[in-house]
């Protein structure tokens, strides 16, 4: 008894401190570092530009194309309504500053300076200038963490806009992603536009992703194409976060990005391995 008491007198405080440190570390781990990111955001706030820079001088050609695009989009919506095919379009977005990058080397993430107070929810779509960049995987009141599509674990079902050939993209930790096709002989050539496909369970269909840079049809087990992402992933400053109509589905089956039925069908047809999307 005396020995125990003496040991306690000598090591009690140390033991208490160690368990306190372990306890708080575990707490921070379970809360996904929310507190730390809040502090980080507070410190980073003064360095963030208050308004995103908008390029004023737009090419007349670009303006013309934009107007034609709006026209075509509304026509498309009318036709879809006539067909009775109604899908909720992502509407309204929050502009958020990028205040940090991933806290370790194996994940391609960015930290945004807006969170649940501004209406951002887990699963929201994040897009930059030119295309999607990722989706929100965690939110705190004032920050949110985004898993980029360039992350090796991030796999998204996509399609070639011109020929409707399906496949999925796999991140490569850079501004390029690899697209694997489900077909053995896809109709694809450099310059083709790649957008998210309707098989994707995480992203709504039709969002721009990038442009095909080169094609390797002899690749085994499936033909591959290198896709250059249209958003400048490595130097993002401002992004637009828009609510995701598929967010519920994405949470329910967050492990596969492809519709199971279609996936099985496609896999048996082409022998492509499963495409997983880890949250």
């Amino acid at each position: 008894m005396y020995a125990v008491r003496r040991w306690w007198d000598r090591n009690g405080i140390r033991l208490g401190l160690i368990s306190l440190a372990l306890g708080s570390a575990w707490l921070i781990r379970q809360t996904q570092g929310g507190l730390i990111y809040e502090v980080y955001r507070g410190l980073a706030q003064p360095f963030v530009q208050q308004t995103p820079q908008v390029e004023q001088s737009k090419d007349p050609k670009v303006l013309e194309l934009e107007q034609r695009l709006v026209e075509l989009e509304s026509q498309n919506r009318q036709l879809q309504e006539l067909l009775g095919y109604v899908e909720k379009h992502p509407s309204g977005g929050t502009v958020a500053p990028v205040i940090g990058r991933s806290a370790d080397h194996w994940w391609q993430q960015v930290i945004l300076g807006r969170g649940s107070k501004d209406g951002i929810q887990i699963g929201a779509i994040v897009s930059g200038d030119g295309g999607i960049v990722g989706r929100v995987v965690q939110v705190t009141p004032n920050t949110s963490r985004v898993l980029l599509i360039s992350d090796p674990t991030s796999q998204v079902g996509v399609t070639i806009s011109r020929s409707r050939n399906m496949g999925y993209i796999r991140g490569q930790a850079a501004n390029r992603v690899i697209m694997e096709f489900f077909d053995k002989v896809p109709d694809v050539r450099p310059g083709d536009v790649v957008s998210t496909s309707s098989y994707s369970q995480i992203f709504p269909a039709g969002l721009p992703v990038g442009i095909v840079e080169s094609v390797n049809l002899n690749k085994s087990p499936a033909p591959e194409a290198v896709v250059a992402l249209s958003a400048p992933i490595s130097r993002l400053e401002w992004v637009i976060v828009s609510p995701n109509p598929k967010a519920g589905a994405a949470e329910l089956s967050s492990h596969t990005d492809l519709d199971p039925n279609h996936k099985n069908q496609l896999e048996s047809a082409s022998g492509v391995a499963s495409a997983e999307d880890r949250p």
Binding site: A21, A25, I28, Q30, V39, R101, H105, W106, Q109, P152
Partner: protein
């Protein structure tokens, strides 16, 4: 400079812990940043690893491993808990404490940088092994393994170079502080 000798030992102890916890917090807050000059190929120094090495170098294996566990959990919270960072940092802490520094290496900037270099490579390798174990059993394991280890080469080298270059920035002030504190403890013990 405040005269710490006149402080009550408990207050001094509290200050010591405060400084230690504060330095960890500082390392955590630097993690998501990529200041120019601190990043190569979008990979920054592994600040928590530098901290664990600085802590463990003059301490016991148990203390090193505990610090590794705590900081590993913290990094889990900051990025992703799967696979855990705690394993690699525990190994780093324990191994650094085990190193027979007195016999083989002198304690200076160069040897600290060297230890951090080796430990950074080790830590990234352990993470890569954890990723590999996760993919084993899936259909396309072969394909994934190749990618993981290709990526590992890049990360391990970049992280090791940057971490070892920045190691003195964490090690020097912290070590000075701890030595300063140890001087107070000495006469009483």
């Amino acid at each position: 400079m405040i005269d710490l000798t006149r402080w009550h030992p408990t207050a001094r102890q509290a200050l010591n812990w405060g400084v230690t916890v504060g330095s960890v917090l500082l390392c955590l807050l630097v993690l998501p940043t990529r200041f120019p000059g601190m990043a190569l190929l979008d990979v920054g120094p592994n600040w928590l690893l530098i901290w664990v090495v600085a802590w463990s170098i003059n301490r016991t294996v148990f203390e090193g491993a505990t610090a590794g566990l705590i900081l590993g959990w913290l990094q889990d919270g900051m990025s992703s808990p799967n696979p855990t960072h705690a394993l690699s940092l525990v190994v780093v802490g324990a191994l650094t404490a085990r190193l027979q520094k007195q016999r083989y290496i002198q304690e200076d900037f160069i040897s600290i940088a060297l230890i951090v270099f080796g430990m950074a490579v080790l830590a990234e390798t352990i993470t890569a092994i954890q990723f590999s174990l996760q993919t084993i059993g899936t259909a396309s394991a072969n394909q994934h393994l190749g990618k993981i280890w290709l990526y590992h080469q890049r990360i391990a080298l970049t992280s090791a170079i940057l971490s070892s270059l920045w190691a003195p920035a964490v090690y020097y002030p912290l070590n000075r502080w701890w030595e300063h504190m140890a001087e107070f403890e000495q006469p009483q013990a």
